[in-house]
């Protein structure tokens, strides 16, 4: 019997039992849709996070922060997590770091949370003390003025502000721009009772929009003051972290410099590299994806059991038909092929609709997630939110879902198909 005839015979048999075949197919559709949707969202999330990290995290930089607890994303405030040691990183520790081979520059960052007052408007912002010259050397692509100019030898009252501090609602309504005098308010919590300190600064530049989460690099939500000024305002020489620019971004250099810095501070600092963070994120996501795919695969296995069930019922109902086919001279392997074909057709239909449905679900879920998360908090529409997940459909996911769907269908059809092919014609014909 020709392949086309086998397929059309199998298709005819499925069409006869539309509802039953439809429900079985639905099982496969759900299983595959679950796999596709979960993987597409998770890969989209990974892409978004990686993207946002990279945009604020140059790959040729290291972050040195105090504490040995392996704080990956160096804490926004000292002591927020893990072990608090007596060790403090000082602004002039950059001198130690600069002596290490392959370090091309380093810049200390002092950071406190505060407010920016401009007229009657108030915006929350990180107040960061940095050396403008060094910082713009290290973050040449992100610490860039959108308007005004970043002075290399700034006046003591100069401030560079992030895009979102100037334009907090993303609609062009700026609360301050270049030339304005703004008040920076910082609450000193080291004294009792805590006291607010207010200083006047002149805006010299507004940064270009950085985008992303900017966990360590220049941020849209920060204001930058000269580091000497920050030291005197905050009354400290301790810094939050030191950013190190490397001569090269190859893994060996990153590794060697990281170790040298840790050694120079007797292991009391942790050194974080962009590549290390991205590696860890990607390995975390691999685990999550494996886990999600595993859960979804279970539903596909259930669908496989459904296929086996319908095939066995079908085998019982069609015993006599199989007897007739054999009496007409059909070979056992053709009977086997017909039954397997029925499963493949169900698996294929299930895979096609499953991939479509999964993709749809992933997009709907991404929208709901994006819309209900950041956007709701900031009152922005989903599309303008800073955290948008675009589900990702890789060829691997697509082919994998297809292959897995069809493979499950075939595997669960083998037993019933084999039984069908082994039926003895004389017994099958006698079957009522």
């Amino acid at each position: 019997m020709k392949v086309g005839d086998v397929l059309s015979y199998a298709f005819g048999a499925i069409r006869l039992r539309k509802l039953r075949a439809g429900l079985t197919t639905l099982g496969v559709v759900i299983g595959i849709a679950a796999i596709v949707a979960l993987l597409a969202i998770s890969q989209g999330l990974q892409a978004t996070i990686t993207d946002q990290l990279q945009s604020g995290f140059a790959t040729d930089t290291l972050i040195v922060s105090p504490g040995s607890g392996g704080r990956l994303l160096s804490g926004v405030r000292r002591g927020v997590s893990g072990s608090v040691s007596d060790f403090s990183l000082m602004v002039n520790d950059t001198q130690i770091i600069n002596e290490i081979e392959d370090v091309s520059a380093s810049a200390a960052v002092i950071q406190e949370a505060g407010y920016v007052n401009s007229g009657d408007r108030t915006v929350q912002a990180y107040v960061r003390g940095v050396d403008f010259a060094l910082y713009s050397e290290i973050y040449g692509s992100t610490f860039v003025a959108g308007s005004g100019e970043i002075p290399l030898n700034p006046d003591v009252d100069a401030v560079v502000i992030g895009k979102r501090v100037s334009d907090p609602w993303k609609n062009g309504t700026t609360i301050c721009s270049v030339g304005d005098v703004v008040e920076i308010v910082w609450t000193n919590t080291t004294v009792r009772p805590p006291e607010n300190k207010t200083y006047a600064f002149t805006v010299v530049a507004v940064l270009k929009e950085v985008g992303g989460l900017s966990l360590t690099g220049p941020s849209d939500y920060a204001v930058y003051v000269p580091i000497g000024q920050a030291q005197s305002l905050f009354g400290t020489d301790e810094c939050d972290r030191i950013i190190v620019k490397l001569a090269s971004e190859d893994d060996a250099t990153i590794e060697a410099v990281s170790e040298a810095i840790e050694a120079a501070f007797n292991g009391q600092v942790s050194v974080t590299s962009a590549t290390a963070v991205l590696d860890i994120i990607s390995s975390v996501f691999s685990t999550i994806e494996l886990f999600l795919a595993g859960i979804a695969a279970i539903s596909l296995l259930v669908a496989g059991v459904g296929i086996m069930n319908i095939m066995i019922v079908s085998l019982m109902e069609r015993t006599r038909e199989i007897g007739i086919l054999k009496a007409l001279g059909m070979k056992s392997r053709t009977v086997l092929a017909i039954f397997i074909s029925e499963a493949v057709i169900i698996g294929l239909l299930g895979a096609i609709f499953g991939v479509g449905l999964g993709w749809l679900l992933a997009n709907v879920a991404a929208r709901v997630f994006t819309g209900g998360g950041f956007a709701a908090a900031t009152g922005q529409a989903a599309t303008t939110g800073s955290f948008v997940i675009n589900p990702v459909m890789t060829p691997t996911v697509l082919l994998g879902a297809f292959g897995f769907g069809i493979a499950v269908s075939i595997i669960f059809a083998i037993y019933p198909a084999w039984r069908a092919s082994k039926l003895k014609p004389v017994e099958a014909l006698r079957y009522e």
């Binding site: 019997m1 005839d5 059909m330 070979k331 004389v426």
Partner: protein, 229 residues
């Protein structure tokens, strides 16, 4: 001289009915030559259906041999048996048509099992159905056909692959007497005009007299052979 179309030698079949062995065939020797029309006559339990299953290569004997066109059936493997069955035209008492296929589809199915392509088999199936007088009913499904019409479809299907013989099991057992006469007329005509070899199994004395030769069976043995010519 060519080998007989069918020959059985000391054919024995013992099967278990529950735990009781039943001697369905006790050494049957039968020879059917080309162009013959043999009726195997016997009451139920005489072993005629078991004999049909052996001759049709649907079942294996316990002892003895079946030769079809000189080939020892017991030497054939599963695939060769399937090929052999294609040279046998089965006509069953309960028609055994595939319900979801229409008349022409049922005939075409046999041809597609034999590997004919679509155009060839469509043409051949139309011819066959026309020959059995079903030109106008080709697109009807078995459920929409009368018993006589269904049996005609079955006969057309049996003839599709130019079989070396037709093997009929109570071909009129499930249809009214008037239609039965017509069917028998068709069968006799096939035998007479086209030289189709026919082996027919029946318990109906009247029907058996239509054949050229009657083989009477009882309790798993042939008890009498009557040549009607």
């Amino acid at each position: 001289m060519a080998a007989p179309v069918v020959e059985t030698v000391e054919l024995k079949k013992i099967y278990l009915l529950g735990k009781v062995p039943v001697n369905a065939l006790r050494g049957v020797n039968l020879k059917v030559e080309k162009g013959d029309f043999v009726a195997i006559l016997g009451p139920s339990g005489s072993g005629k259906s078991t004999l049909l299953n052996m001759i049709g290569a649907l079942d294996k004997p316990t002892e003895g041999k079946v030769f079809i066109n000189g080939v020892d059936v017991s030497t054939l493997n599963d695939n060769q048996l399937a090929d052999l069955r294609r040279s046998i035209g089965f006509v069953f008492q309960f028609f055994n048509l595939i319900p979801r296929l229409n008349a022409i589809g049922n005939v075409e199915l046999t041809l597609s099992i034999a590997g004919l392509d679509k155009n060839e088999r469509r043409k051949r199936a139309e011819e066959l159905l026309e020959n059995v007088g079903l030109k106008e009913r080709m697109k009807h499904k078995p459920a929409e056909l009368s018993g006589g019409e269904r049996q005609r479809v079955a006969i057309a299907r049996a003839l599709a692959n130019n079989p070396s013989f037709l093997l009929m099991d109570e071909p009129t057992g499930n249809i009214d007497s008037k239609t039965a006469k017509e069917i028998m007329g068709l069968v006799k005509q096939l035998n007479k005009d086209e030289g189709v070899t026919i082996i027919m199994i029946t318990h109906d004395q009247q029907l058996a007299t239509q054949a050229k030769r009657i083989v009477k069976m009882l309790d798993g043995s042939i008890i009498k052979e009557i040549d009607q010519l």
